[in-house]
Subunit: 194 residues, 2 copies
Protein backbone atom coordinates (compact mmCIF):
# COMPACT_ATOMS: atom_id res chain seq x y z
CA UNK A 1 0.00 0.00 0.00
CA UNK A 2 1.32 3.37 -1.02
CA UNK A 3 1.86 5.89 1.76
CA UNK A 4 0.27 9.23 1.02
CA UNK A 5 2.31 12.34 1.58
CA UNK A 6 -0.08 15.17 2.35
CA UNK A 7 1.01 18.73 3.05
CA UNK A 8 -1.20 21.74 3.67
CA UNK A 9 0.17 25.25 3.23
CA UNK A 10 -2.02 27.55 5.28
CA UNK A 11 -2.61 30.32 7.75
CA UNK A 12 -4.03 29.54 11.17
CA UNK A 13 -6.77 32.15 11.05
CA UNK A 14 -7.98 31.73 7.46
CA UNK A 15 -11.51 30.28 7.24
CA UNK A 16 -10.60 28.89 3.81
CA UNK A 17 -7.72 26.96 5.38
CA UNK A 18 -9.85 25.80 8.36
CA UNK A 19 -12.35 24.42 5.86
CA UNK A 20 -9.65 22.21 4.32
CA UNK A 21 -8.38 21.12 7.76
CA UNK A 22 -11.91 20.08 8.67
CA UNK A 23 -12.25 18.05 5.45
CA UNK A 24 -8.93 16.28 6.17
CA UNK A 25 -10.06 15.59 9.75
CA UNK A 26 -13.39 14.17 8.58
CA UNK A 27 -11.51 11.70 6.39
CA UNK A 28 -8.96 10.95 9.10
CA UNK A 29 -6.03 11.94 6.87
CA UNK A 30 -2.65 12.60 8.49
CA UNK A 31 -1.00 15.71 7.07
CA UNK A 32 1.82 18.12 7.63
CA UNK A 33 0.71 21.72 8.19
CA UNK A 34 3.00 24.47 6.98
CA UNK A 35 2.13 27.91 8.38
CA UNK A 36 2.79 30.64 5.81
CA UNK A 37 3.98 34.15 6.60
CA UNK A 38 1.91 36.34 4.26
CA UNK A 39 4.55 39.08 4.35
CA UNK A 40 7.23 36.62 3.35
CA UNK A 41 5.67 33.82 1.38
CA UNK A 42 7.66 30.62 1.00
CA UNK A 43 9.22 29.62 -2.31
CA UNK A 44 7.04 26.49 -2.19
CA UNK A 45 3.81 28.49 -1.99
CA UNK A 46 4.85 30.70 -4.94
CA UNK A 47 5.79 27.59 -6.92
CA UNK A 48 2.65 25.63 -6.05
CA UNK A 49 0.13 28.45 -6.59
CA UNK A 50 1.75 30.80 -9.15
CA UNK A 51 -1.63 32.22 -10.23
CA UNK A 52 -2.91 33.52 -6.89
CA UNK A 53 0.04 32.93 -4.52
CA UNK A 54 -2.55 32.22 -1.83
CA UNK A 55 -3.27 29.64 0.84
CA UNK A 56 -4.64 27.03 1.17
CA UNK A 57 -2.59 24.80 -1.10
CA UNK A 58 -2.80 21.05 -0.63
CA UNK A 59 0.13 19.02 -1.94
CA UNK A 60 -0.69 15.33 -2.35
CA UNK A 61 2.28 13.14 -3.28
CA UNK A 62 3.92 16.18 -4.86
CA UNK A 63 0.83 17.37 -6.79
CA UNK A 64 -0.41 20.82 -5.74
CA UNK A 65 -4.08 21.84 -5.64
CA UNK A 66 -5.32 25.37 -4.92
CA UNK A 67 -8.71 26.91 -4.09
CA UNK A 68 -10.39 25.56 -0.97
CA UNK A 69 -13.55 24.23 -2.62
CA UNK A 70 -11.53 22.52 -5.36
CA UNK A 71 -9.35 20.95 -2.66
CA UNK A 72 -12.38 19.69 -0.74
CA UNK A 73 -13.88 18.09 -3.86
CA UNK A 74 -10.50 16.42 -4.47
CA UNK A 75 -10.23 15.12 -0.89
CA UNK A 76 -13.77 13.76 -1.11
CA UNK A 77 -13.02 11.92 -4.35
CA UNK A 78 -9.62 10.50 -3.48
CA UNK A 79 -10.24 9.37 0.10
CA UNK A 80 -13.31 7.22 0.58
CA UNK A 81 -14.85 6.68 4.00
CA UNK A 82 -17.11 9.38 5.42
CA UNK A 83 -18.42 11.37 2.43
CA UNK A 84 -18.31 15.17 2.59
CA UNK A 85 -20.59 16.11 -0.29
CA UNK A 86 -24.04 14.51 -0.64
CA UNK A 87 -24.14 11.41 -2.87
CA UNK A 88 -27.31 12.34 -4.76
CA UNK A 89 -26.48 14.45 -7.85
CA UNK A 90 -29.17 17.05 -7.21
CA UNK A 91 -28.32 17.44 -3.53
CA UNK A 92 -24.66 17.69 -4.51
CA UNK A 93 -25.50 20.50 -6.96
CA UNK A 94 -27.36 22.33 -4.17
CA UNK A 95 -24.36 21.93 -1.85
CA UNK A 96 -22.05 23.32 -4.55
CA UNK A 97 -24.40 26.24 -5.18
CA UNK A 98 -24.46 27.22 -1.50
CA UNK A 99 -20.72 26.74 -1.07
CA UNK A 100 -20.19 29.09 -4.02
CA UNK A 101 -22.74 31.51 -2.57
CA UNK A 102 -20.89 31.57 0.75
CA UNK A 103 -17.59 32.22 -1.06
CA UNK A 104 -18.73 34.76 -3.60
CA UNK A 105 -21.47 36.60 -1.74
CA UNK A 106 -21.73 35.90 1.98
CA UNK A 107 -18.07 36.08 2.99
CA UNK A 108 -17.43 39.32 1.04
CA UNK A 109 -20.56 40.88 2.61
CA UNK A 110 -19.44 39.82 6.10
CA UNK A 111 -15.88 41.05 5.52
CA UNK A 112 -17.29 44.40 4.40
CA UNK A 113 -19.43 44.69 7.54
CA UNK A 114 -16.40 43.77 9.67
CA UNK A 115 -14.07 46.12 7.77
CA UNK A 116 -16.39 49.09 8.23
CA UNK A 117 -16.71 48.29 11.96
CA UNK A 118 -20.37 47.47 11.62
CA UNK A 119 -21.60 50.39 9.49
CA UNK A 120 -25.37 50.07 9.30
CA UNK A 121 -25.77 49.62 5.54
CA UNK A 122 -23.06 46.95 5.48
CA UNK A 123 -24.68 45.05 8.34
CA UNK A 124 -28.04 45.27 6.56
CA UNK A 125 -26.46 43.87 3.40
CA UNK A 126 -24.72 41.05 5.30
CA UNK A 127 -28.01 40.25 6.99
CA UNK A 128 -29.77 40.24 3.62
CA UNK A 129 -27.33 37.64 2.30
CA UNK A 130 -27.49 35.56 5.48
CA UNK A 131 -31.25 35.56 5.08
CA UNK A 132 -30.75 33.31 2.06
CA UNK A 133 -28.88 30.78 4.13
CA UNK A 134 -30.89 28.48 6.25
CA UNK A 135 -28.42 25.86 7.26
CA UNK A 136 -25.02 26.44 5.71
CA UNK A 137 -22.87 28.90 7.60
CA UNK A 138 -21.19 29.49 10.93
CA UNK A 139 -21.11 33.23 11.50
CA UNK A 140 -21.91 33.59 15.17
CA UNK A 141 -18.91 33.98 17.37
CA UNK A 142 -15.78 36.00 17.84
CA UNK A 143 -16.48 38.56 15.11
CA UNK A 144 -19.56 39.73 16.94
CA UNK A 145 -17.81 39.73 20.28
CA UNK A 146 -15.03 41.96 18.91
CA UNK A 147 -17.26 44.44 17.11
CA UNK A 148 -20.02 44.46 19.67
CA UNK A 149 -22.55 44.08 16.89
CA UNK A 150 -24.86 41.25 16.23
CA UNK A 151 -24.75 39.78 12.74
CA UNK A 152 -26.86 36.74 13.41
CA UNK A 153 -29.23 35.85 16.21
CA UNK A 154 -31.58 33.01 17.06
CA UNK A 155 -34.71 35.01 16.29
CA UNK A 156 -33.61 36.10 12.84
CA UNK A 157 -31.68 33.03 11.72
CA UNK A 158 -32.75 30.10 13.89
CA UNK A 159 -31.63 27.46 11.40
CA UNK A 160 -28.18 28.96 10.80
CA UNK A 161 -27.58 29.22 14.55
CA UNK A 162 -28.80 25.68 15.14
CA UNK A 163 -26.61 24.38 12.31
CA UNK A 164 -23.65 26.39 13.59
CA UNK A 165 -24.10 25.11 17.17
CA UNK A 166 -24.17 21.51 15.93
CA UNK A 167 -21.29 22.05 13.49
CA UNK A 168 -18.83 23.20 16.14
CA UNK A 169 -19.70 20.26 18.38
CA UNK A 170 -18.16 17.87 15.86
CA UNK A 171 -14.61 16.83 16.78
CA UNK A 172 -13.29 17.07 13.19
CA UNK A 173 -14.52 20.67 13.08
CA UNK A 174 -13.17 21.58 16.53
CA UNK A 175 -9.75 20.27 15.54
CA UNK A 176 -9.81 22.31 12.32
CA UNK A 177 -10.57 25.67 13.96
CA UNK A 178 -8.10 27.97 15.75
CA UNK A 179 -8.43 28.30 19.54
CA UNK A 180 -11.22 30.78 20.29
CA UNK A 181 -9.10 32.89 22.65
CA UNK A 182 -6.23 33.16 20.16
CA UNK A 183 -8.56 34.29 17.38
CA UNK A 184 -10.33 36.71 19.70
CA UNK A 185 -7.02 38.31 20.74
CA UNK A 186 -5.92 38.59 17.12
CA UNK A 187 -9.15 40.25 15.98
CA UNK A 188 -9.28 42.63 18.96
CA UNK A 189 -5.78 43.75 18.10
CA UNK A 190 -6.68 44.09 14.39
CA UNK A 191 -9.73 46.22 15.07
CA UNK A 192 -8.10 48.26 17.81
CA UNK A 193 -10.40 47.25 20.64
CA UNK A 194 -8.96 45.78 23.82
Amino acid sequence: MMTDEVKLYGLWRSPFVCRVKIALNIKGIKYEFIEEDLDNKSAELLKYNPVYKKVPVLVHNGNPISESLVIIEYIDEVWKGVPILPQDAYEKAQARFWAKFINDTCIPALYKAIGSHGEEQDVVEANKQLQFLENELNVKGVVEEVLGIELANKDKFPKIIEWSDNYIKCQAVKDGLPPRETLLAFLKNLFGKV
Copy 2:
Protein backbone atom coordinates in the same frame (compact mmCIF):
# COMPACT_ATOMS: atom_id res chain seq x y z
CA MET B 1 -37.77 4.37 -18.98
CA MET B 2 -38.44 7.78 -17.51
CA THR B 3 -38.51 10.68 -19.92
CA ASP B 4 -36.39 13.58 -18.76
CA GLU B 5 -37.89 17.04 -18.94
CA VAL B 6 -35.04 19.50 -19.38
CA LYS B 7 -35.53 23.27 -19.62
CA LEU B 8 -32.84 25.90 -19.89
CA TYR B 9 -33.60 29.52 -19.00
CA GLY B 10 -31.03 31.64 -20.77
CA LEU B 11 -29.95 34.56 -22.88
CA TRP B 12 -28.67 33.98 -26.38
CA ARG B 13 -25.52 36.06 -25.99
CA SER B 14 -24.44 34.99 -22.49
CA PRO B 15 -21.20 32.96 -22.49
CA PHE B 16 -22.36 31.33 -19.24
CA VAL B 17 -25.50 30.12 -21.00
CA CYS B 18 -23.59 29.00 -24.13
CA ARG B 19 -21.37 26.92 -21.84
CA VAL B 20 -24.41 25.01 -20.56
CA LYS B 21 -25.82 24.60 -24.09
CA ILE B 22 -22.50 23.09 -25.16
CA ALA B 23 -22.54 20.64 -22.22
CA LEU B 24 -26.10 19.57 -23.11
CA ASN B 25 -25.07 19.15 -26.77
CA ILE B 26 -22.04 17.05 -25.81
CA LYS B 27 -24.33 14.68 -23.91
CA GLY B 28 -26.94 14.71 -26.69
CA ILE B 29 -29.68 15.89 -24.31
CA LYS B 30 -32.87 17.33 -25.80
CA TYR B 31 -33.99 20.47 -23.98
CA GLU B 32 -36.39 23.35 -24.23
CA PHE B 33 -34.68 26.76 -24.34
CA ILE B 34 -36.49 29.70 -22.78
CA GLU B 35 -35.05 33.09 -23.75
CA GLU B 36 -35.27 35.55 -20.87
CA ASP B 37 -35.82 39.28 -21.20
CA LEU B 38 -33.45 40.77 -18.61
CA ASP B 39 -35.58 43.92 -18.35
CA ASN B 40 -38.65 41.85 -17.63
CA LYS B 41 -37.60 38.59 -16.05
CA SER B 42 -40.10 35.76 -16.04
CA ALA B 43 -41.85 34.63 -12.86
CA GLU B 44 -40.21 31.22 -13.38
CA LEU B 45 -36.68 32.66 -13.37
CA LEU B 46 -37.37 34.62 -10.17
CA LYS B 47 -38.83 31.51 -8.57
CA TYR B 48 -36.05 29.16 -9.71
CA ASN B 49 -33.12 31.44 -8.86
CA PRO B 50 -34.33 33.68 -6.01
CA VAL B 51 -30.77 34.37 -4.80
CA TYR B 52 -29.26 35.83 -7.97
CA LYS B 53 -32.25 36.05 -10.37
CA LYS B 54 -29.78 35.26 -13.15
CA VAL B 55 -29.49 32.94 -16.11
CA PRO B 56 -28.57 30.20 -16.78
CA VAL B 57 -30.99 28.08 -14.79
CA LEU B 58 -31.41 24.42 -15.73
CA VAL B 59 -34.64 22.77 -14.65
CA HIS B 60 -34.48 18.98 -14.70
CA ASN B 61 -37.77 17.22 -13.99
CA GLY B 62 -38.89 20.29 -12.03
CA ASN B 63 -35.67 20.68 -10.02
CA PRO B 64 -33.87 23.99 -10.65
CA ILE B 65 -30.07 24.36 -10.67
CA SER B 66 -28.24 27.71 -10.96
CA GLU B 67 -24.62 28.74 -11.63
CA SER B 68 -23.17 27.52 -14.91
CA LEU B 69 -20.29 25.48 -13.47
CA VAL B 70 -22.60 23.80 -10.94
CA ILE B 71 -24.99 22.98 -13.80
CA ILE B 72 -22.19 21.48 -15.89
CA GLU B 73 -21.01 19.26 -13.00
CA TYR B 74 -24.63 18.12 -12.56
CA ILE B 75 -25.07 17.35 -16.27
CA ASP B 76 -21.82 15.40 -16.27
CA GLU B 77 -22.89 13.32 -13.26
CA VAL B 78 -26.47 12.60 -14.28
CA TRP B 79 -26.01 11.84 -17.96
CA LYS B 80 -23.36 9.28 -18.73
CA GLY B 81 -21.89 8.91 -22.21
CA VAL B 82 -19.19 11.35 -23.32
CA PRO B 83 -17.60 12.71 -20.13
CA ILE B 84 -17.08 16.47 -19.81
CA LEU B 85 -14.68 16.63 -16.86
CA PRO B 86 -11.56 14.44 -16.76
CA GLN B 87 -12.00 11.12 -14.94
CA ASP B 88 -8.75 11.28 -12.97
CA ALA B 89 -9.25 13.09 -9.62
CA TYR B 90 -6.15 15.27 -9.96
CA GLU B 91 -6.89 16.25 -13.56
CA LYS B 92 -10.46 16.98 -12.52
CA ALA B 93 -9.18 19.28 -9.75
CA GLN B 94 -7.02 21.10 -12.31
CA ALA B 95 -10.02 21.50 -14.63
CA ARG B 96 -12.09 22.90 -11.76
CA PHE B 97 -9.29 25.29 -10.80
CA TRP B 98 -9.03 26.69 -14.33
CA ALA B 99 -12.80 26.91 -14.78
CA LYS B 100 -12.96 28.93 -11.55
CA PHE B 101 -10.02 31.05 -12.73
CA ILE B 102 -11.80 31.82 -15.99
CA ASN B 103 -14.97 32.78 -14.09
CA ASP B 104 -13.45 34.79 -11.26
CA THR B 105 -10.42 36.34 -12.90
CA CYS B 106 -10.25 36.07 -16.69
CA ILE B 107 -13.81 36.99 -17.63
CA PRO B 108 -13.92 40.03 -15.28
CA ALA B 109 -10.56 41.23 -16.70
CA LEU B 110 -11.81 40.79 -20.27
CA TYR B 111 -15.13 42.52 -19.51
CA LYS B 112 -13.19 45.43 -18.00
CA ALA B 113 -11.01 45.74 -21.11
CA ILE B 114 -14.11 45.59 -23.30
CA GLY B 115 -16.05 48.04 -21.11
CA SER B 116 -13.26 50.61 -21.24
CA HIS B 117 -13.05 50.26 -25.05
CA GLY B 118 -9.57 48.79 -24.82
CA GLU B 119 -7.91 51.20 -22.38
CA GLU B 120 -4.24 50.25 -22.26
CA GLN B 121 -3.95 49.25 -18.59
CA ASP B 122 -7.07 47.10 -18.83
CA VAL B 123 -5.76 45.33 -21.93
CA VAL B 124 -2.42 44.78 -20.17
CA GLU B 125 -4.24 43.28 -17.18
CA ALA B 126 -6.40 41.03 -19.39
CA ASN B 127 -3.25 39.90 -21.20
CA LYS B 128 -1.56 39.18 -17.88
CA GLN B 129 -4.41 36.88 -16.86
CA LEU B 130 -4.56 35.23 -20.27
CA GLN B 131 -0.87 34.52 -19.91
CA PHE B 132 -1.78 32.02 -17.18
CA LEU B 133 -4.02 30.13 -19.53
CA GLU B 134 -2.45 27.79 -21.96
CA ASN B 135 -5.33 25.80 -23.27
CA GLU B 136 -8.58 26.74 -21.59
CA LEU B 137 -10.24 29.76 -23.13
CA ASN B 138 -11.76 31.02 -26.34
CA VAL B 139 -11.19 34.76 -26.42
CA LYS B 140 -10.34 35.45 -30.02
CA GLY B 141 -13.21 36.58 -32.15
CA VAL B 142 -15.97 39.13 -32.37
CA VAL B 143 -14.90 41.19 -29.37
CA GLU B 144 -11.64 42.06 -31.07
CA GLU B 145 -13.35 42.74 -34.36
CA VAL B 146 -15.73 45.22 -32.70
CA LEU B 147 -13.12 47.05 -30.65
CA GLY B 148 -10.37 46.91 -33.22
CA ILE B 149 -7.97 45.79 -30.51
CA GLU B 150 -6.19 42.55 -30.22
CA LEU B 151 -6.55 40.73 -26.93
CA ALA B 152 -4.99 37.47 -28.00
CA ASN B 153 -2.79 36.54 -30.91
CA LYS B 154 -0.91 33.50 -32.16
CA ASP B 155 2.50 34.85 -31.18
CA LYS B 156 1.57 35.67 -27.59
CA PHE B 157 -0.84 32.85 -26.83
CA PRO B 158 -0.24 30.07 -29.34
CA LYS B 159 -1.81 27.36 -27.21
CA ILE B 160 -4.96 29.33 -26.38
CA ILE B 161 -5.48 30.15 -30.05
CA GLU B 162 -4.87 26.56 -31.11
CA TRP B 163 -7.26 25.30 -28.43
CA SER B 164 -9.83 27.91 -29.42
CA ASP B 165 -9.59 27.02 -33.11
CA ASN B 166 -10.12 23.34 -32.33
CA TYR B 167 -12.87 24.06 -29.82
CA ILE B 168 -15.09 25.91 -32.26
CA LYS B 169 -14.71 23.17 -34.87
CA CYS B 170 -16.66 20.77 -32.64
CA GLN B 171 -20.33 20.46 -33.65
CA ALA B 172 -21.62 20.48 -30.02
CA VAL B 173 -19.80 23.77 -29.50
CA LYS B 174 -20.94 25.31 -32.80
CA ASP B 175 -24.54 24.48 -31.94
CA GLY B 176 -24.18 26.08 -28.50
CA LEU B 177 -22.86 29.44 -29.72
CA PRO B 178 -24.88 32.31 -31.17
CA PRO B 179 -24.49 33.03 -34.90
CA ARG B 180 -21.33 35.09 -35.37
CA GLU B 181 -23.05 37.81 -37.44
CA THR B 182 -25.86 38.24 -34.87
CA LEU B 183 -23.40 38.60 -32.01
CA LEU B 184 -21.24 40.98 -34.05
CA ALA B 185 -24.21 43.21 -34.86
CA PHE B 186 -25.29 43.23 -31.20
CA LEU B 187 -21.84 44.17 -29.91
CA LYS B 188 -21.28 46.83 -32.57
CA ASN B 189 -24.53 48.42 -31.55
CA LEU B 190 -23.64 48.15 -27.85
CA PHE B 191 -20.28 49.81 -28.31
CA GLY B 192 -21.53 52.41 -30.75
CA LYS B 193 -19.41 51.38 -33.70
CA VAL B 194 -21.00 50.50 -37.03
